[in-house]
């Protein structure tokens, strides 16, 4: 972690619209030391008058590459996200500090089953874990439960579908509108859904939950209620409602 407090200058390589409210940014950061699956960074913007704003963003990419991938949802009253989602263009510069965090991290040496639970753009660090699982050929059973408002609000849909295998299962929860013919009515993540779509507590999975604070707290309560041990439920909240 030495050097984590240094700000590095990155250059936006691409900024692609991915959902109605979010973009995927590729940022080239010379000197980036690489990152583990699940880590985040701080991103700093400086206005012309010198005013600075710093926000944390999870990293969707994993490994030693110095080009890092971020997926950013626009928050209604945000100071930083509207700029990243609407304005920033390839060639623009950003400052980043990281990688940060050693708690919400998955390492390929972990042999136990892993249940990932994402709310909205909370999928980002879980995407890094899913990519690491896929790339390293890990045989640890992985299952991702991804809750989104509508199918259009999902990030990484095609890439995630490509991961599906004996050791990676993908389950969707749609909270506002579901695809045509979807067997369940849209609604918030409920106990029954979680029980049906998550690795059971008896198998002692490590569970990673990431999303808006309300989502993470609701999901954590349901997990404890279903018998998961608190010590095996790792959470990352990013504010919001």
């Amino acid at each position: 972690m030495v050097g984590a407090s240094l700000w590095l200058t990155g250059t936006v390589v691409s900024a692609e619209s991915a959902t109605p409210s979010g973009r995927i940014l590729m940022v080239d950061v010379p000197g980036w030391p690489g990152n583990l699956a699940g880590q985040h960074l701080d991103l700093r913007l400086t206005a012309e008058d010198g005013y600075q704003a710093v926000r944390s963003y999870s990293i969707a990419s994993v490994g030693s590459a110095t080009t890092i991938e971020l997926a950013v949802d626009e928050l209604p009253d945000g100071e930083v996200s509207p700029y990243l989602v609407r304005d920033v263009q390839p060639g623009d510069q950003l400052e980043v500090r990281g990688p940060l965090g050693g708690y919400f991290v998955w390492r390929e040496t972990q042999p136990e089953p892993v249940q990932l639970i994402a709310g909205g753009s909370g999928v980002v660090p879980l995407m890094a874990m899913s990519r690491a699982h896929h790339r390293t050929g890990s045989t640890a059973p992985f299952r991702l439960l991804y809750s989104v408002r509508t199918p259009e609000n999902a990030y990484f849909t095609d890439e995630l579908a490509g991961f599906e295998s004996d050791s990676f299962r993908l389950d969707w929860v749609y909270t506002r509108s579901a695809p045509e013919g979807w067997p369940a009515a849209p609604g918030r993540l409920m106990r029954d859904t979680l029980e049906a779509a998550a690795i059971p507590a008896e198998q002692q999975p490590t569970v990673y939950v990431c999303g808006p604070t309300g989502f993470v707290e609701a999901a954590s309560r349901l997990l404890l209620d279903l018998g998961h041990e608190e010590a095996r439920v790792r959470t990352e909240r990013f504010g919001g409602y």
């Binding site: 972690m1 030495v2 984590a4 407090s5 940060l100 965090g101 050693g102 708690y103 919400f104 790792r234 959470t235 990352e236 504010g239």
Partner: protein, 93 residues
């Protein structure tokens, strides 16, 4: 070299001598640091604490009893850590 009553030895120096060892503590990954809450005595991994962020700084609350563990406030170019609500912080080095 000075000697304690139990016979063990120590060296009396000044704060400059602990720059290295303290950097080991203070540059460690803080999400995995364990903090002990002064009011309730429970130890928590810092990543599990409740944090209230605002433009001036942040307040870190014990996930067990919700008392304040510590606060960090930035005023101009000065950053202040107030640790009144915690008894210790430990990291793996």
């Amino acid at each position: 070299m000075a000697r304690l009553t139990d016979g063990s030895e120590f060296v009396r120096v000044d704060g400059n001598a602990i720059a290295g060892p303290l950097s080991e503590l203070l540059s460690a990954d803080m999400t995995m640091a364990v903090v002990t809450c002064a009011p309730c005595g429970s130890g928590s991994v810092l990543a599990t604490a409740v944090v209230e962020l605002d433009p001036a700084g942040f307040i870190v609350l014990c996930p067990s009893c919700r008392h304040t563990l510590f606060t960090v406030v930035k005023t101009g170019n000065r950053m202040t850590l107030d640790v009144q609500g915690m008894t210790d912080l430990s990291v793996t080095v």
